[in-house]
Amino acid sequence: MTHSRVAYRDSFGCGPLEVSVEAETPALRDKVAESLCLHNVEWAEQPAALRIEARMVDAPAEGLPGRFLETARMRVDRVEGGLAATCDSGASCVYAECERRWSIAVPANGAEAEIPEDVELLVGLALTTGWRSLGWAPLHAGAVARGDVCALLCAPSGGGKSTLIAALLRRGWHTLGDDKLLIRDDGTGPVAEALIHNFNLHPRTRDWFPEVGDLTRLPRYSAWTEKRKVRIEDIWPSATCRTGRPTHLVRLERGGAEGTLDVRVLPRSEVLSILLRQVVIPNDAAAARPLLATLGALAGRLEGLEVVLGEDLYGDPDRLAALEDTLR
């Protein structure tokens, strides 16, 4: 099988990276762009260049062992000059570190339009590797800020981060995002930076916050969830911020009595333990060491809280007062 060599090019700002994409087909370019265009926060400094090339290939790649990193559908290994990764679908990529170039190869399984979802995993690998190389630790957390307070919110997917953040925005807080942040020590202490100013909200959020409107008119975020992607500023103007100095770490749990919100102060020893579980740390000492150093420095600055969210909590906005009191 032969493939045309026409290149479909585009460029995307993804935090501290400016990613140029060159794809062999429009469908491939669109699939790569899907993940990149989520990053809609303007970066203050000059971004570093990263290249992603994507092409179709005849045969799926043979699986790698995943010694550098193993995810549910992707395995990553160090190879001479960089990294290599393979996915369950047979999609693969190779990273040439000195050129800052990722080459993604997607097996042509019949119809061209059938680009595997695994491409998203490979693009995510390219971004996280790029951010780490610039000294940033990618943190799977949301964040809210008001005055001198900046709280990192940690919970698994579906754990209530977005809804709690939305409730706090209505009380004058700002947000850096609900899911993905970058953390770095800038010499004066850890700083958190926003990457994405979208929320993934469930349509029933409207029951508590009517201003979100009818979310069912929007397409689903993915086939696996009822949630819809919305731009935060479209609903809560001026509610986003780009940067913050983290002061608190809040672990969210679901449970407790209906309509209640319980706050417990966590021992300092638990803060680092929670942080370590919000960051992907490769099984590679050179990659892991700076991440551990960033998280260790960050943990020393944070007050830890556990917040247990009861069902139907947001009917009465004053129920958040206990949390706000602790975050002063």
């Binding site: 990193l69 193993e70 995810t71 549910a72 992707m74 990553v76 995993l121 995510g124 690998l125 971004l127 996280t128 590797t129 990618p138 799977h140 698994p156 997917s157 993905k180 020893s269 680092l272 333990s273 370590l276 579980r277 919000q278 960051v279 992907v280 740390i281 099984n283 590679d284 000492a285 892991a288 060491r289 551990l292 150093a293 998280l295 260790g296 420095a297 943990a299 020393g300």
Partner: protein, 132 residues
């Protein structure tokens, strides 16, 4: 570490970072992580360079360890070995300049209960993947 004259070094896939009251160690193979106090970190720095058990015990005495802490020191060193945080090699022992921050206290190491995930959702999301 039964042989007091063997040189032991921290395993290459155990990474460390200094924190306010000591250090944190992450074993990249087992994904367990450990907290050590300032004295424990001083001892570990000896093994970063390469040291014998005998040498580590002597340095503890030099840092002001009372006889009554001998058991705690032995327990700490045993645990480093049991948890495979250190390994024997043929390298000659080193004598790095290491000080105990804040003065002597018996070395302590705490193993955190739950290891980090070995298999994750994605390169950004370290949570346990959902079953498909």
């Amino acid at each position: 570490m039964s042989d007091a004259t063997a040189t032991w070094t921290l395993r290459p896939d155990v990474v460390t970072t200094v924190v306010e009251d000591g250090a944190v160690l992450l074993d990249l193979e087992s994904k367990y992580f450990y907290s050590v106090n300032a004295t424990g970190w001083a001892v570990l720095q000896l093994f970063e360079a390469g040291a014998t058990r005998e040498h580590a015990e002597e340095r503890c005495n030099g840092w002001g360890a009372p006889d009554s802490d001998g058991e705690a020191i032995a327990r700490f060193l045993d645990l480093l070995l049991e948890e495979r945080l250190v390994e024997a090699n043929g390298a000659p022992p080193q004598t790095p300049e290491v000080a105990v921050q804040g003065g002597w206290a018996a070395p302590k190491i705490e193993k955190h209960k739950e290891p980090l995930q070995k298999i994750m959702t994605s390169a950004f999301d370290p949570s346990l993947p959902l079953a498909e």
